[in-house]
């Protein structure tokens, strides 16, 4: 199974956990062209800092909290993205802890999470909403 398929499977699992009748409305936060490919930016959303990453190989945008709970600073959007085994990850620029972009969990310190958000892209529009995880 390649990375794309695994990513898709994990996403299906995550999606099945989500409540279908989610009350959260989608909110446009930026244009897709604002996010350099395979890199990240930070957006302001309902008084929260959120890091968005544009992963070209799966052609998707992922959203996690911008706050590194281990390094204790708002820097996640400036991290390098990549894969560890079959997981999509971002490495914090402070101490290089890896966080799974889909589940938000830290690989080096299991049990430590980044909050994750739902993202959808239509044409050049990037929208996000809170999820209930």
């Amino acid at each position: 199974m390649n990375l794309e398929q695994t990513t898709h499977l994990i996403e299906l699992k995550v999606a099945s956990i989500l409540l279908e009748d989610d009350q959260q409305a989608w909110e446009k936060v930026c244009d897709l062209s604002d996010i350099p490919p395979d890199s990240g930016i930070c957006i302001f959303y309902q008084n929260q800092q959120i890091a968005l990453f544009n992963i070209s190989v799966v052609n998707k945008v992922y959203a996690v909290s911008n706050y590194d709970p281990i390094g204790k600073a708002n820097v996640m959007s400036r991290g390098i993205i990549g894969s560890v085994g079959e997981s999509l990850v971002v490495a914090s620029p402070l101490f290089k802890h890896h966080f799974n972009l889909i589940t938000g969990e830290c690989i080096e310190e299991p049990g430590v999470y980044l909050k994750t958000y739902d993202v959808r892209t239509t044409k050049n529009k990037v929208e996000i909403r809170e999820n209930n995880k």
Binding site: K72, V75, I80, G82, A91
Partner: protein, 836 residues
């Protein structure tokens, strides 16, 4: 607690080693140690003495440290001589009238150079070669001499000849015997050595017995020989062997050997059980050991015995030696002359390659008794192991000289076959077992082995063997010596460099799709970004590169703990005008930045928020500043002193050279950060020897040092070359840096790179100076190409509205990060400790 008084007479290499070993004992505080030396300073490295002429300072040669002695309550007396031992009352007296009692007395008085009793040998320019003061006298004499003669063609004599040659004298060696190095080499080896040395311009006169030194006609002196020939010279250095200093022992009735030397047993005790003798003053089993390694072994045996351990006896030492004399590689093992009854000899003289090898084999043909190597000592380590461990020779033995044509298997000793107890590093008595243990405790590269066991940090002759033991042990442990960059590339960094260089690959995605798997990660992305930058030097924030950049490179600034950044403008050579200082001050005030002077003669401005970076740099670039690359694994700064422009002592213009070097290599990306310095004289105010590349001025040109650094494991740089003119200096630095970029591991500093390099600094010299690999031209071209694409990354960024978009905390809001909160300390900002 009772204290024992130890008095150590002599503080040379062996006396100091004894004290060092004593301090390492668990009950060290029970001993009160006094040491007396007639020299004006404590122990220094006599083995490296001749490096004094190639730029090493007295400070660098020092082994002992007065402050350390004081910290450990060691009473040391300089410039004084013990003149009498009162054995019945256990006291020693010195010429200055001091008297010290002892419980145990250690004689480490060493030896003195033998000066043949020639009429006229006591004239002002007739010198010896033993102490720093001797070397100073030689230098003073050389300054007013044109021709120099060394009397004695042994090991030390040839070293002295090299020194005279380096001091610019027409150099001669006069030898009484019929060959050079008669102790270590057979006639064939001696003859080749003579040819090779003469090819270097040193004239060798063998079978010459000097009868008289009188006034010369063309030069200061004339040496008249027994065969009625003569030689004129301005100065003479006597190096005709050493004699043990044993008068003290004779004076108090201790037994001495037939040809001198204080007789000792296996515990290094003399005839008086409370008096020990160690080093060159001692004679054990009718032998005097004129090398430092056996002296150290004696010191260890004496320390053990004084501490009640009778198991560490001195049982003789292997006098095999491998060295470089006037650039000629020479090795001698065991019974080099084949004196053992029934010994059979094989020799191979390769006139084309100018190498000579000789094996001395036991009558049964199975054991190696000795060997001579001249011109090529590659086999030294293997042969020495065969000899020391009495291992069986491959049959027929001559294949060790000339590989069998139909035999593809190598004839080296399998390191597996070497016993655990075999000494691998004789300088520091490190056995194969010690190295294996270090590997088992987690040392998995040469640098780690060196720092934990000291193996291969002395003469370095054993480095290839140490590496064999290391690799063998790792393989045995099932540790695959895997140097893949990361899970995404099954290649070592060096292989990726070759792929990128030869295939002309310009982007990470191209490399990943052809040679890698997965998405890449925070290990391979910055590493590949660095290689791409080293070779093609494109703007690092180009769309295809921006996602590869590590923390600091990504925003061309240094990330600090709270998510703010610091800014370092380039100040080449540390030279800055008051106007430019005012610009920095103005920017720092306007943006309320914490200001600090760095260690590299620059100014660091802290506390800039991401969105402020472009505004800060707009002002700095506008005032003529460039980026300082403090954020990159790149060439950063070249520190300098003021050299001849201002300094009373400067011998070259170090500031101009530092600025030229910094301007040439600024921003060059490399496996790790590179720091450099240029000092205008040997006082070394710029601390160049703690840098990756250090340059020190001497009257004869620049000395180049490589591989120093501060950091976790400080390392003094190694002297690479001396007396360089500006052009040669730059071309050597070009080649060294590019070779480092080509061959180092990811994030490997030059110091570790050099320590892990098989063959070390000698190999680096052969690549860079002798062009052994035939790549010098390519290396220089690659450098010119890379630095030709230099740009100030901040200037380029400021010119691109699209690039500037990234320098905002939020892409969809003009707010800044509310997390950046500061308190003040000593009148400047400091990140507040955040409650989370």
């Amino acid at each position: 607690m009772s204290t024992h008084k130890l008095v150590v007479v002599g503080n040379g290499m062996v006396g100091h080693e004894f004290i060092k070993q004593m301090l390492d004992q668990p009950n060290a505080e029970q001993f009160m140690i006094t040491t007396v030396t007639c020299e004006p300073r404590l122990a220094y490295d006599r083995v490296q003495l001749s490096s004094f002429f190639s730029g090493n300072t007295v400070k660098q040669l020092m082994l002992a440290d007065e402050n350390k002695y004081k910290e450990n309550d060691i009473d040391f007396i300089l410039n004084d001589k013990v003149c009498f031992i009162d054995r019945p009352n256990k006291k020693i007296y010195t010429t200055s009238g001091l008297c010290k009692s002892y419980d145990k007395l250690i004689l480490a008085t060493g030896s003195y150079p033998f000066v043949p009793p020639i009429v006229g040998n006591d004239q002002p320019h007739c010198l010896i070669y033993r102490t720093i003061e001797d070397l100073e006298r030689i230098k003073t004499s050389a300054d007013i001499s044109k021709i120099g003669v060394v009397v004695g063609g042994g090991l030390l004599g040839l070293e002295a000849a090299n020194a005279l040659r380096n001091l610019g004298l027409e150099t001669h060696v006069v030898e009484f015997a019929q060959q050079l190095m008669a102790i270590q080499l057979d006639q064939g080896g001696g003859a080749l050595l003579k040819r090779k040395i003469e090819a270097l311009g040193v004239q060798v006169h063998i079978n010459k017995s000097t009868q008289l030194i009188t006034t010369g006609e063309q030069a200061r002196y004339r040496m008249e020989f027994a065969d009625d020939s003569y030689l004129e010279t301005d100065m003479i250095v006597f190096s005709a062997g050493i004699r043990p200093y044993d008068e003290l022992a004779k004076g108090c009735g201790l037994t001495v050997g037939e040809r001198g030397g204080i007789m000792i047993n296996d515990y290094c005790q003399t005839g008086d059980p409370d008096i020990y003798a160690i080093g060159e003053c001692a004679v054990w089993n009718k032998q005097i050991f004129g090398l430092v390694a056996p002296g150290y072994q004696m010191a260890r045996a004496a320390v053990a015995h004084i501490n009640g351990d009778n198991n560490k006896r001195f049982t003789g030492a292997d006098l095999s030696t491998k060295l470089k004399l006037l650039g000629v590689e020479v090795g001698s093992i065991g019974d080099a002359h084949g004196c053992t009854p029934g010994a059979q000899c094989y020799s191979f003289n390769d006139e084309a390659e100018q190498t000579y090898k000789r094996l001395v084999v036991s009558s049964c043909g199975k054991k190696l008794l000795g060997a001579v190597l001249v011109g090529d000592t590659v086999d030294y380590g293997n042969l020495q192991q065969l000899y020391i461990n009495g291992m069986d020779l491959p049959q027929p033995p001559e294949q060790l000289l000339i590989p069998l044509l139909d035999d593809a298997s190598p004839t080296t000793v399998g390191i597996e076959g070497v016993p655990k107890t075999a000494p691998i590093c004789t300088c520091y008595s490190v056995s194969k077992g010690d190295i294996q243990q270090a590997v088992q405790q987690g040392c998995c590269d040469m640098a780690a082995i060196k720092s934990s066991t000291s193996a291969s940090t002395g003469c370095g002759g054993c480095s290839a063997l140490v590496k064999q033991v290391l690799d063998n042990e790792l393989t045995k442990q099932g540790v695959e010596v895997n140097n893949n960059l990361c899970e995404h590339f099954s290649y070592a960094r060096q292989e990726l460099v070759d792929i990128i260089r030869i295939q002309k690959i310009k982007t990470f995605s191209h490399l990943l799709s052809k040679y890698g798997t997965g998405l890449g990660c925070d290990i391979c992305k910055p590493a590949v970004a660095s290689i791409l930058s080293s070779y093609w030097n494109e703007f690092i924030l180009k769309n295809e590169h921006v996602g590869l950049q590590d923390t600091n490179d990504a925003f061309l600034a240094n990330l600090q703990k709270n998510g703010s950044y610091s800014v370092v403008p380039r100040i080449p050579g540390g030279e800055i005008t008051p106007d430019k200082l005012m610009v920095i001050a103005k920017v720092a005030k306007q943006f309320n930045l914490y200001t600090k002077i760095t260690g590299g003669q620059r100014i660091d401005l802290f506390g800039a928020a991401l969105h402020q970076l472009p505004d800060i740099w707009r002002q700095l670039v506008g005032a003529g500043f460039e980026t300082g690359h403090a954020y990159g694994k790149a060439m950063r700064t070249v520190k300098s002193c003021v050299g001849t422009s201002w300094c009373r002592y400067g011998v070259q213009d170090s500031t101009s050279m530092a600025i030229a070097i910094e301007s040439r290599y600024k921003g060059l990306r490399s496996p790790h950060k590179i720091k450099m310095a240029v000092s205008g004289c040997t006082r070394e105010c710029a601390e160049a020897q703690s840098k990756d590349i250090g340059v020190i001025a001497t009257e004869n040109g620049w000395s180049l040092y490589v591989g120093g650094n501060g950091g976790m494991r400080p390392r003094h740089a190694s002297l690479f070359a001396t007396d360089l003119n500006d052009k040669t200096l730059i071309s050597y630095i070009d080649r060294i840096l590019m070779f480092y970029i080509r061959t180092a591991e990811r994030l490997q500093r030059t110091s570790i790179w050099l320590e892990n390099m098989e063959g070390g600094i000698d190999y680096l010299r052969s690549v860079v100076i002798d062009d052994k690999l035939g790549i010098c031209e390519a290396l220089e071209k690659e450098m010119v190409n890379s630095i030709g694409n230099y740009q100030c990354e901040w200037r380029t960024t400021l010119e691109s509205p699209e690039k500037l978009k990234r320098f905002k905390h939020f892409i969809n809001s003009d707010q800044s990060d509310s997390h950046l909160i500061y308190t003040t300390e000593r009148g400047q900002i400091k990140p507040a400790v955040m409650e989370t």
